[in-house]
Every structure is written in C-alpha cells, then in structure tokens.
C-alpha cells in the first residue's frame, strides 16, 4: 500500500498546491476501485498494486495531463518575432567573429592557422550562446505570460475591410535591409567596444608594427558612450522600419526625430574637447610614414584638420537624405 502513496505523491507534487489534496483523494479512491475490481474480493498483493499503477501509467505523464501544460518553449504568439530576433543575433555574432578573424589575419598572417582555429572555436562557442540566450529571453515571458494568449484572442476579431492594403513595391521597406542594418550597427558597437585599438592608420614595417589611432585614447571611454548611444539610435530606427514595413508619414516623422537626436549627439561628441587623437600628425611622423614639411605632410594635415567638418557635412546630408527619401517613398501612391 505504501507504493500507492508514493505514486500519488509523484503525481501531485508537480501540481498546484490548491489542487493537490483533492486530486490525491480522488486518485486514492480510483486506485482502490481498480484494485477491488481486479481481485474480486480476494486479498490484494503487491503484484496487483503494481499492475494497477502500471495501467495508470507514468506519474509524470499523468501530472502533465492534470496540468494541461503546453509542451513548447516558445508558443505561436511569440514565434515570429523570435525568429526575427534570432536571425539578427546569429548574423551579427557570425559577422563579428568573422571580421575579428580577418583583422587578425591581416595583422599577423604568419599564424593564420591559429587564427582559423580561434575562428572555429569562436563560432562553436558563440553561435550556440547567441541561440541559447535569445531562446531563453523569449521562453521566460512566454512561460510567465499565460494570460496573454487570451488577450490576443480579443484582437482576433476582424472584418475584410480591416485588411491593410497591399503595400506599394516602392513604399515597401525590405525586411532583409533592416535586419542587415541592425546587424551592422551591432557589429560596429562590438568593434568600438572590443577592438577600438585597431581604428587608425595601420603601420607595416615588413610586418604589422602598430596603429596610429584616429581617436583620443584618454577621452575614449566618454566618447564610447556617445558612440553606443548613436549606434543604438540607429538600431531603434531599423526596428521602427521593421515594425512599419512600409514608408508612411508617421514613420518619416519618427525617422526625422531620431535622426535629429543622432545629429545632436554627434555634434556634442565631436565638438566636445579632444575627441580626435591630438597627436595624430606627430605619431604619423614618428612612425616614419610622412616627414615634416614635405608636400605629403601638408596634404595629410589639411585632410586631418578638415575631416571633422567634412564628416559632419556628409553625416548631416546623409541623415537629411534619409528623411527626404522616406518622404518621397511615403508620397508614392
């Protein structure tokens, strides 16, 4: 008889506290009924008990039937958005590792085999991690958000007149463009955070011997905040495009706002003190790439000193064009 208690315990311990006792009582009387029918008045032995329990089946399965829990990690409600985010995560992870591989190969081509091994190891560890974290991030809200599916059903009423018009090809925003955009922004963030020491002029004396950096090393950590902010804004913009799927006036307005914020952030960052490497020209000379007072030096120094202005001009033109382009596309009917 002890086995019956153990069986019932195995079933009920995985059920909500409020139902445990009731289900346990009901199972008890069920098992006794089944035993009675089996022995027809004779003594009950362990053999019969085992047979009856075998008939009821695996306690885990029985508990599952009582709970009626879903047998999936990420339900249909979330699955589409899960796939999109998963693609983004995998593409950006792969690109980052691949670029890291390429950079290391250029810097030190002799040990290419080592780099390749690192590349493979990186892929094998990072891709499953990206996959795992994305899945984890979606499984958690799905697990706790049981009410949500009911809420979604309310929004399921529709009339044929509610159907959105087929977007004009010219107004449509390509889905893969936005994903590629997000992947690139993520990639740049990763480069700025982890590989910023390679941003500059690479010096080769027979082999790679150092970098003359573009950016000021001392103020880099505060610049980095702005850079992440600006790239993050870019990611938000691409997400908006992904959500809207086509150019509308609303989307153009949001894009304009977001672009304005990033222009302001870039201005603050570049005009703030010491964003660029102040010793850039000196270091170039020291590295032996140019000699002072030569024509080449003058050219480089003109380019270097004017670069801030030109970068700003190009950026502003680019971001304004982004808005105008959206406006033109939204206008097409």
């Amino acid at each position: 008889m002890e086995m019956i208690d153990r069986y019932i315990y195995a079933v009920t311990q995985k059920l909500p506290q409020s139902q445990r006792e009731d289900i346990a009582d009901e199972l008890h009387s069920l098992i006794e009924d089944m035993l009675d029918e089996r022995v027809q008045g004779k003594n009950i032995t362990n053999k019969e008990v085992e047979e009856v329990l075998m008939e009821l089946g695996n306690p885990k399965l029985l508990a599952q039937k009582y709970r009626g829990t879903k047998k999936y990690l990420i339900g249909p409600d979330f699955f589409d958005s899960y796939l999109i985010v998963l693609k983004i995560a995998l593409i950006s992870t792969f690109t980052a590792i691949f670029l890291n591989f390429i950079i290391h190969c250029v810097i030190n081509p002799v040990s290419i085999l080592d780099h390749f091994t690192e590349f493979i190891v990186g892929l094998v560890t990072a891709l499953p991690a990206a996959f795992g974290w994305t899945t984890f991030g979606f499984a958690i809200p799905d697990y706790f958000g049981e009410i949500k599916s009911k809420n979604l059903e309310i929004g399921m009423e529709w009339k044929p007149s509610d159907l959105p018009p087929i977007p004009d090809k010219k107004r449509q925003i390509k889905y893969c463009d936005s994903i590629l955009g997000i992947a690139f922004y993520t990639l740049f963030i990763i480069i700025f955070v982890f590989s910023n020491e390679y941003l500059g002029i690479w010096i080769f004396h027979d082999e790679f011997s150092g970098v003359v950096p573009f950016l000021n090393r001392e103020t880099f950590s505060s610049s980095l905040l702005f850079i992440i902010l600006i790239l993050g804004i870019g990611i938000i913009k691409e997400c908006l495009k992904l959500v809207y799927g086509k150019w509308t006036y609303k989307l153009v307005t949001y894009t304009a706002l977001v672009n304005l914020v990033s222009i302001i952030a870039v201005f603050i960052m570049i005009n703030g003190n010491a964003f660029w490497n102040p010793d850039f020209l000196l270091e170039l000379t020291q590295a032996g790439l140019v000699t002072e007072n030569s024509d080449a030096y003058r050219t480089v120094s003109i380019i270097w000193n004017q670069s801030t202005l030109w970068i700003l001009v190009l950026l502003v033109i680019g971001l304004i064009w982004d808005v105008i382009d959206g406006l033109i596309k939204a206008n097409k009917k």
Partner: protein, 120 residues
C-alpha cells in the same frame, strides 16, 4: 502497411479526443464518479483510460460544464460529477452538431463507396 497504421493511429487519437468529451457529457445527467464512468462508457464500447478521464473531468469542471461533490457517506469517499446547467445546454447543442457531422460524413463516404461499387 505499418506506415498506414501509424498514420491511422495518430488520426484516431485526434478524433477520439473530441468524441470522449461528448461521451462523458452524455453519461452525466445523473451524478457518477470517475471509475463508474470508465465502466459505463466501456460497456457501451467507448474505451477510455482512467489516466485520461480523470484529468478531463477536472478540466470540464473548471470550464463550468460539470459540477462536483464529494460523497463521504460510504466506506470509500468518492467525488461525483454532474452536468451543470451550462453543461446541459452545451451537450444539447453538441448532439445536434454531432448528428450533422455524422450525416455529412456518411454522405461523403457513401458517395465514394458507391463509385467503387460502380467500378466493380
């Protein structure tokens, strides 16, 4: 041939899942406890395992189609289930729908059978 049987088993499982509910509702205009329901359905040719029926009874009770009451007067306490008012209504509606299905399905199947006979 084994494949065919496997597919049939899967489809039968889906079919049975719905019909068992109707079978259960049909028997509960008078109060019964779980195991007596297993027996009475079994006698009528509907075989349902206790491990499936008990959770189903609970789900139907939670949905409000059944009402339940513990009878502790006898030597063995048992939980009795009975159709609620909603349950009765749902059952009446289900019968009509079921008869439609039977009729329509037999129309479809008979036509196919007729063709076969014609070929022979």
């Amino acid at each position: 041939m084994n494949d065919a049987k496997e597919y049939m088993n899967k489809l039968m499982q889906e079919l049975r899942r719905g019909t068992i509910t109707i079978g259960v509702l049909s028997q509960l205009s008078e109060a019964q406890y779980g195991y007596s329901l297993v027996t009475s359905l079994g006698e009528k040719g509907i075989h349902v395992e206790p491990g499936t029926l008990y959770p189903l009874l609970r789900r139907l009770e939670k949905q409000g189609l059944l009402a339940s009451k513990w009878d502790t007067n006898e030597a063995r306490p048992r939980k009795y289930y009975l159709l609620s008012e909603t349950g009765k209504e749902v059952y009446e509606l289900l019968i009509v729908e079921w008869q439609h299905i039977v009729q329509n399905m037999s129309n479809v199947i008979d036509v196919q059978g007729g063709d076969k006979d014609g070929d022979d």
